[in-house]
Amino acid sequence: MEKKKNKFLSNRGFVIFSILALLIVLAAVLAPVLCGSHSPTAGSLADAIKPPCAEHPFGTDKMGRDIFARVIYGARTSLSSTFVLVFVIFAVGTVLGVVSGYFGGWVDAVIMRIADMMIAFPGLVLAIAVAGMLGASTRNAVIAISLVSWPKYARLARSLVMKIRHTDFVAAATVTGSRTMYMLTRYMFPNTITTLVITAATDIGSMMMELAALSFLGFGAQPPTPEWGSMLNEGRNFMQSAPWMMIFPGLAIFITVVVFNMLGDNLRDILDPRSE
C-alpha cells in the first residue's frame, strides 16, 4: 500500500491537476459563498446586458442575471451530470461487457449486436434524436449519451475478460466448484477495472463536451437552470452587443475539460506505464 501511494503522489502532473480539479469541484460546491448576493436565476431587466464590471465580473445576460454566478452555479449542473454520465456508462458498459465475455453464446451475441447498432450510428446524432424524443432535460440528455457510449466500455471489458476466460487458473477455479457470482466478482471484474477506470477518467472531458453540445442545441438542461452549454446558446443571439455572454461559459467548459483531460492522462501514465 505504501508503494502505491507513492506512485500517485510522485507524479507531479497528477498532483497538480488533482488539486485543480478539486478546486473546480469546490467552486461548484461553495457556489453560494463565492457568489455572495448574486443569484444565478434572479435578475432584473434593468441590469440586462451589462459588460463586465466590478459589480458583475462577467457581465450580465439578457435577463439581467449575473453571469459570474451563472457560470459558478453552472459548474454544479455540468459537473454533476458529467460524473453521473461517466459513471453510468462505466457501470453499464463494464457489466454488460463482462457478462458478454464470460457467458459467451447467445448472451454475447445479443449484447454485441445491440452494441453494434449503437456504434453503427454517429454518436451525437443518435443522442440528439433520443434526447429530442424523450423530451429535453438534463436527465434525458444523460440517458441519451449513455445509450450511445456504453458499447465502447462493453467491448473493452469483453475483450479483457475473454483474454483470461479460458486460462488454466480460471478453469481450476470452476472445477473446484466456484460459483458463477464468485467467478465474476473475484476474477473477471478486477481484471477489467484498471483499464476501464483509465478510459473513464480520460473520457470525462469529452463527455462533458457532449453534454454541453446537447444543451447548446436545447436538448439538455432547460432554462432557467444555468448550464454552460445552454448559456452559450443564449449568448449566440447577442454576439454583437454582448460577446461576454458566450466567452465566459465557453472558457469555463474549456478550462474544466483541459484540467480533467490532463488528470486523466496523468492517471493513465501512473496506472499503465506501457502507454508511451
Partner: protein, 312 residues
Amino acid sequence: MGKKQLASRLLQMLIVLLGISFLTFLLTYLSPGDPVRNMYTAAGIMPTEELIQATRDEMGFNDPFFVQYFRWLGNCLRGDFGKSYSLNKPVVTLLKARLWPTLKLTLMSMVLMLAVAVPLGVLSAVHHNKPIDYIVRAVTFFGVSLPNFWVGLLLILYFCVRLKLLPVVSSGGTFKDLLLPSVTLAVAMSAKYTRQVRTAVLEELSSDYVVGARARGVPERKILWGNVFPNSLLPLITMLGLSVGSLLGGTSVVEVIFSYPGLGNLAVNAITSADYFLVQGYVLWVSVIYMVVNLLVDLSYNYIDPRMRLRR
C-alpha cells in the same frame, strides 16, 4: 475479403439497419407530442378533438404498433419515407436537397483536417521527444479540449462581427459560406487526428524493418516516405473512416450555429418540431451512409495490405 465474408458483412449491416429502424420507430412512437396536432398547429389551424381523432384514424396513427412499423418499413423500401408535417414536403425530397451540402461540408472539413494533421503528425513522430514534438502535443491537447460550438461562435465573433470579412449566415453555395463551418469542424478533428497520425507513425518507426533498412545504409528520408508512411496509411485510413462518423454528427451543431442548410440542421429542427417521419428518415439515411463508408474503408484496407490479400 472473400465473397463469403462480404456477404456475411452485408447481412450484418442489414440486421443492424433493421434494428436501428425499429429503435427509432419505437422511440418516436413512445415520445410525447402528437404529430397530428403539430401538423395542424403548423398550418395555423386550431383543431377540435374530433378532428384530431379522425385525422389520426385516417393517417393510421391509431393502428397497433407493429402494423404502423411494418407499414412504414414497407414504404421506406419503396422509397417513400413519408411526409414532413413541419415543412409540408415529402421526406425524401427534403433529405435529398440537404444531402449534398452536408457532404460538401464533411469533405471540405476532411480535406482541411488532413492538410493539417498529416504533416504535423509525421513531423511530431519523426522528431519524437524533441521541442517540435512537445509543441505539437501541447497544441493538439488544447485543440481536443475545445468545444467545437464555442470555436464556431468565436470565429463568427471575430470574422463576421468584428472584422466583417465573412457572412454570418451561409446559404451553402459559395466557398465563403463553407469556410467558417468547415474550419470550425476541422479544428477539433485535426487535433484528434494529428495525435492518431503521430501514434501510427511512431509505431511504424519502431518496427524491425526500420532497423533493418538503416543497417543496410538506406537514407532516413527514403525509409520514412518510402516505407514508414505508406505502412502507416493502413491504420490511418481506418481512423479516417471512424472520423467520418464524428464529422457527420458534428455537422449538426456546426450547421445550427451557421444556419447552414444541411442534414444536421434539418434534423435538429425536425426533432424540435416533433416531425417524426423526417427524423426517422434522417436517422436511417445517416446510418446507411455511415455503414457504407465503414464498409468501403474495410474493403480498401483488405486490398491495400498484401498480408490480408495473400494470407487466405
